[in-house]
């Protein structure tokens, strides 16, 4: 199976503090990858390294066989929705879709227009006058309509209501099944990812605590553990070892 994301001892430092250290991952293509960990664990840093918005201070990273953000061709293959789902507040929804169509080589116009219609959003509305959840939907629509091979979503469901969350999951699953898209999404709530991700990366205290197929991780844990317990087990191990190193 192809590898979508490969990192070797990747590290990122802000001044003297390492936000991420010794991160070695090999994530297969075509998976829905959940990146879970407490706030401030390094999730956003890892995602920004994968999208090329940050340059690593240590180690190496390869995404879809290339350096992240290395050129327009590579950027076209990676979709990204940042945590605060930024959009141009002064531009209308229709303007955003036009912008996407003009800038992205593989833009799926009919999908984008159809999804906006399904969400009952007025295309003439400016992004600045949308609710947080609606703006997130606009950003997600654009990221999917770009038809990327890898879709990176930083806390995508945080601003969506429960119904929209379920609908959004279905939509992502469809993209994965139909187009073999690799999806990586972060959350600090395991319940957001349960029953949806088939690959899990647990991150805590700036380090990868566990990474692998959900089934295999559960099997290694032994017993009838669920995802929540699995994640908690890895996180508590991280905090124990952190306490020990501090001593």
């Amino acid at each position: 199976m192809n590898t979508a994301i490969q990192t070797r001892q990747l590290g990122k430092r802000y001044r003297s503090r390492w936000a991420l250290t010794d991160c070695t991952l090999s994530i297969p293509a075509g998976r829905v990858v959940g990146l879970v960990g407490p706030n401030g664990a390094g999730k956003t840093t890892l995602l920004n390294l994968i999208t090329g918005h940050l340059a690593p201070d240590a180690g190496a990273i390869e995404v879809l066989g290339g350096r992240p953000g290395s050129g327009p061709g590579h950027l076209a293959k990676v979709g990204f929705v940042a945590q605060d789902t930024p959009t141009y507040l002064g531009l209308s929804i229709a303007d955003h879709l036009r912008l996407g169509a003009r800038l992205n080589p593989r833009w799926d116009k009919s999908y984008a227009e159809e999804r906006i219609k399904r969400l009952a959003l007025d295309p003439r509305r400016k992004a600045g006058r949308l609710s947080g959840g609606q703006r997130a939907q606009l950003a997600l629509t654009m990221a999917i309509a770009k038809r990327p091979e890898l879709l990176i979503l930083d806390e995508p469901v945080a601003s969506l209501d429960p119904l929209a969350r379920r609908e959004f999951r279905d939509e992502l699953r469809e993209a994965v099944v139909e187009r073999a898209t690799t999806v990586m999404l972060s959350s600090h709530l395991v319940s957001d990812l349960e029953g949806f991700c088939d690959y899990l990366v647990v991150i805590a205290a700036s380090r990868i605590q566990a990474a692998g197929l959900v089934d295999e991780l559960l099997a290694a844990q032994g017993g009838p553990a669920d995802l929540e317990e699995l994640v908690l087990a890895h996180m508590s191990r991280a905090s124990r070892s952190e306490v020990e190193t501090q001593r």
């Binding site: 920004n48 999208t51 090329g52 918005h53 940050l54 340059a55 953000g69 050129g71 327009p72 950027l75 076209a76 990676v78 979709g79 990204f80 940042a82 605060d84 930024p86 959009t87 141009y88 507040l89 002064g90 531009l91 303007d95 036009r98 912008l99 996407g100 003009r102 800038l103 992205n104 080589p105 950003a139 654009m142 990221a143 770009k146």
Partner: protein, 347 residues
């Protein structure tokens, strides 16, 4: 990408176009009146004895309610253009995207930071130059009769029209010909670069206003005089009558006004017979006298006047050199800005 640049810039472009059109209409409707005054004053055919015609033309021009207003409006508009363009087009180009966190959004629409920066800077930079160029073209054309007559009269004076500001003078030079294009481009790029450095809109705008104003002061004052070696004239022995119009400085310097048609006077010094700078402090016998006696006393010292100046026919040479210099600096700064944007990956 061009569409995005256009879409984001549309509102500003409409405002700028409205200013250009309004100003051009005001100039176009008054231009024939102004050149009519020039023609009827006899200036086109006065040959070598033009002072009466000049006085007549300038006095009637200045007495009009509209021409002086337009003259100084245009001057002010072009002098403020570089700083305003830098502050309102240049600095926010970066800072508003940083504050809205939209760079991560737009750079993931298959646009690399380099391409984004190059397209934005090129398009808005050209728009800045177009704005300044059109205003300068209209103003230079409209004000041509005044410039041909030696410049706008300021101050008045007892005989003739008094001091004039020719198009070669420090301030007016920046609002004629092609130089405004250079200042507009540099002002815009300074705004962009300060936006990258400061990253917040209001402080970046304030910094841009200050830096551009400093450039507009430094270049005419300390750079322009050295672009081409000035010509020198020496007026032999100043008589008491010559010294009648002299002005005295704080440290005893004596300056006799000089009028060379359309020229830019760089220095105007009064020297002793052996060529050293003259100061009243060296001639204590001439102080504490009445005005006429002082002039008589100084007239007996054999003082000479040395003037360095740039002749009027060097105007376009200076315009060319300075514009090329400003555009060169703009390109270098812009390239630095693009490299920096790529390197810091603002997000």
């Amino acid at each position: 990408m061009i569409w995005l640049v256009y879409r984001q810039f549309r509102a500003s472009a409409v405002v700028a176009a409205a200013v250009v059109v309004a100003f051009a209409v005001a100039l176009a409707t008054t231009a024939s009146g102004l050149s009519g005054l020039y023609d009827s004053s006899g200036l086109p055919s006065c040959g070598s004895s033009c002072s009466a015609a000049t006085t007549h033309f300038l006095a009637s021009m200045k007495a009009d309610g509209v021409y002086p207003v337009l003259y100084f409006t245009g001057l002010g508009l072009l002098l403020l253009t570089p700083a305003l363009i830098g502050a309102f087009w240049g600095a926010p180009m970066i800072t508003r995207e940083v504050e809205g966190r939209t760079l991560r959004f737009v750079w993931h629409q298959s646009v690399t930071p380099t391409r984004w920066a190059v397209m934005k800077i090129a398009a808005l930079g050209l728009a800045s130059m177009a704005f300044a160029g059109l205003v300068s073209l209209a103003l230079s054309w409209w004000a041509a009769p005044i410039d041909r007559a030696g410049g706008f009269p300021v101050g008045g004076g007892s005989q003739g029209v008094g001091t004039q500001i020719s198009r070669f003078q420090k301030i007016v030079f920046d609002a004629r010909g092609v130089v405004p294009l250079g200042y507009a481009a540099l002002g815009f790029v300074v705004g962009v670069v300060l936006g990258v450095v400061v990253r917040r809109t209001v402080p970046a705008m304030a910094a841009t206003l200050v830096v551009v104003a400093a450039v507009q002061f430094v270049v005419p004052t300390w750079v322009r005089p050295h672009l081409v070696a000035p010509a020198t004239i020496t007026r032999p022995v100043l008589t008491a009558a010559d010294l009648r119009s002299a002005q005295f400085g704080n440290e005893g310097q004596v300056t006799v006004p000089v009028d060379i048609r359309g020229a830019w006077i760089v220095t105007d010094r009064t020297v002793t017979p052996d060529g050293r700078g003259f100061s009243l402090l060296q001639a204590s016998q001439c102080t504490n006298l009445g005005i006429a006696q002082t002039d008589d006393c100084l007239g007996a010292l054999g003082l000479r006047q040395v003037v360095t100046y740039q002749p009027a026919d060097r105007f376009w040479e200076f315009q060319g050199i300075e514009t090329a210099m400003l555009l060169g600096a703009s390109v270098v700064l812009a390239a630095g800005g693009v490299v920096w944007i790529r390197k810091v990956r603002l997000s």
